[in-house]
Symmetry: C2
Subunit: 145 residues, 2 copies
């Protein structure tokens, strides 16, 4: 992970399908040298993969919400994962510091689907309560790889 690798990640972040020759041109390397570096970063786990970015609205996920989870007693990460895994609208979940036990990001078609998903999250009796913040507008969305 030197400066060239970081530049490569920046360029791939902008265009994950950019040809190696073009990437090499921008950082002063040949296509084969670029491939070697990308391959090494994949092998080292620095690069986890390549993906497509879509417009959530167009794909039917126009409604997003941040939900804090408060659990009854002590609920471990493994148990939390088992609960949240079953809800397809859960696109991200982490345990966090603070009063809440977990922070969950939900994506649904509309507020009705969001409500249904929330009900599923709250259904297990390990979950005591939730605190939701529905996304109104996006201010910033940076691709930090």
């Amino acid at each position: 992970m030197d400066a060239l690798d970081r530049k490569l990640l920046d360029l791939l972040s902008d265009d994950g399908r950019a040809p190696y020759a073009e990437l090499g041109e921008r950082i002063g390397l040949s296509a084969s040298a670029v491939k070697r570096r990308v391959d090494r970063m994949i092998a080292d786990g620095v690069i986890r993969g390549f993906t497509v970015l879509t417009d959530p609205e167009a794909v039917g996920h126009g409604t997003e919400a941040y939900v804090e989870l408060f659990c009854r007693g002590i609920v471990g990460p493994a148990e939390l994962r088992r609960i949240l895994e079953k809800v397809p609208e859960v696109i991200e979940a982490t345990t966090v510091t603070g009063q809440a036990d977990a922070m969950v990001t939900l994506r649904a078609k509309d507020t009705q689907d969001l409500e249904r998903a929330l009900e599923q999250v709250r259904a297990p009796n390990q979950v005591d309560s939730t605190r939701s913040a529905i996304v109104l507008s996006r201010l910033i969305e940076r691709r930090v790889h």
Copy 2:
């Protein structure tokens, strides 16, 4: 946006660099038909681009936090964006329903850098207070495109 388009997005979500021929094989189309669909989704704005996924730890963003922003008086989205734009650790920011005015996601090298970023967010006198939840462990991380 039919069922085949959705399948294509699912496949590209898993591997954004998958060859068209391979994608076509999986959904029962030729490479050129796949290309036409992908091109159309790009033109329609359904596909916003392709990117690389990295291990935040390996890239020097091991510390993440969700921060609620409470503002003094009425602060518009445009002004909020101007404030948060200046802080490179801010990777996502949205206005939300509820008590908080905005939800901000921060990524930093460590807790020290996180603290510095938080200070920058709180510096403008439009920001009254913040409420942070530092990420301890990832439970779920789904690529919903």
